[in-house]
Subunit: 230 residues, 2 copies
């Protein structure tokens, strides 16, 4: 049975970036094939001797010239056997985050162009990629509340207000600022630096960093990060 299987396996990535209080997703313009000229998620067929993770990292490097901060599997799309009209193609979609230092894109190989699109302005994408983006956004919203992944979208050192804006922007709702700050600091996973940064017209704000070692140690002891209902 396996011998005659004619199903292609692809990987695609929903890569999120965040700047100036706006959430972005990385899209590439297809240079070849049936989706030529259309915007789509970066991705492509898995090579024979490649792991799925290697495939998605290679595609992100080739098509957009970037390396992500955070990568995890999102969902495997294979219930619509016509999602690619050429051939039954199953796509293992990944969810990725990059921070502003890796913001610069460089389109190459199958990509004619690579750009960050605000998630409020995503065009009609090739294949079922609009659906995949939607699933990615849901995952991001969910994860923000129970895993400290927001830090992967921020500069290494950030004023506290950046973290607060990131939550309000992505979750799309107001939060109680005082509760949020109290709760976030109570976890003891943020470290104050000696540096200050001028934010807007206010006085300079202290910069923080996320202490990942500390977080990992806490998790081993049963700690659960949770930013719900703030």
């Amino acid at each position: 049975m396996g011998k005659t299987q004619n199903i292609k396996l692809a990987v695609d990535a929903v890569v999120f970036g965040y700047q100036n209080n706006q959430l972005y997703v990385l899209l590439i313009k297809q240079r070849f094939g049936i989706a030529k000229g259309l915007w789509s998620l970066p991705g492509g067929f898995v090579l024979n001797n490649e792991s799925l993770t290697q495939a998605v990292e290679r595609e992100l490097h080739e098509e957009a010239g970037i390396k992500v901060n955070y990568l995890e599997q999102l969902y495997t799309f294979g219930d619509d056997v016509k999602r690619d009209t050429r051939n039954h193609t199953v796509s293992v979609a990944y969810f990725a985050l990059v921070n502003p230092t890796k913001w610069t894109l460089k389109a190459d190989t199958d990509a004619e162009d690579a750009q960050w699109f605000p998630i409020t302005k995503i065009p009609k994408l090739a294949y079922d990629h609009n659906k995949i983006v939607k699933v990615g956004i849901e995952r991001l919203k969910g994860k923000l509340t129970y895993q400290p992944i927001g830090f992967d979208l921020l500069d290494k050192e950030f004023p506290f207000s950046d973290l607060e804006h990131l939550y309000t922007t992505i979750l799309g709702k107001e939060i109680d600022r005082r509760n949020f700050r109290k709760k976030m600091l109570s976890f003891d996973i943020l470290q104050e630096t000696n540096k200050m940064k001028k934010v807007g017209s206010g006085r300079p704000a202290k910069l923080f960093t996320f202490n990942k070692q500390k977080y990992n140690a806490l998790v081993k002891d049963g700690f659960h990060f949770e930013i719900k209902y703030v």
Copy 2:
């Protein structure tokens, strides 16, 4: 590039069943191939015109003669390119639950035998299936706390103590019985029936059913099921 791809696509299922305060996983004994005689998860190659969900439902029917109550994607295993020594094979693993009315198994096709194994007594399985089972158990433990999936493992009508035992057994820890009952009933998703059942040596206990319509309506209004820290 797609033309020469030589990667096989399979589905596998981690099916959980629960009886007499014990959690079980469904295993089949391989009749053919390199894993002949070994126990493994039910599953197999996806057919060309089949969706992933159809493939896993077909395999469960063929190899074990069952239809599950609950099915969702678990994870796609494809980072170890040698997980099947014959050919690079990527497996989309599913997570499934069955209740006692569907407990009877019937091995056929690729399966020489099909049996329920207590999760404390799982043998060395074919391929990387022990790892997949482990991921399935983690998913089950996690989901029990934020989704009312425990009901898919119980009889349609059950004494409250069965639900309580299910949580303590699967989560592997004692719970505060009084808090658990109070919280579970406060959600207003359990419906009392007029029936009673004798449990152990005590007096007959009232039977409950899970009101799924009610739950779905509550979710639409923003309700979050949560059984943590009880």
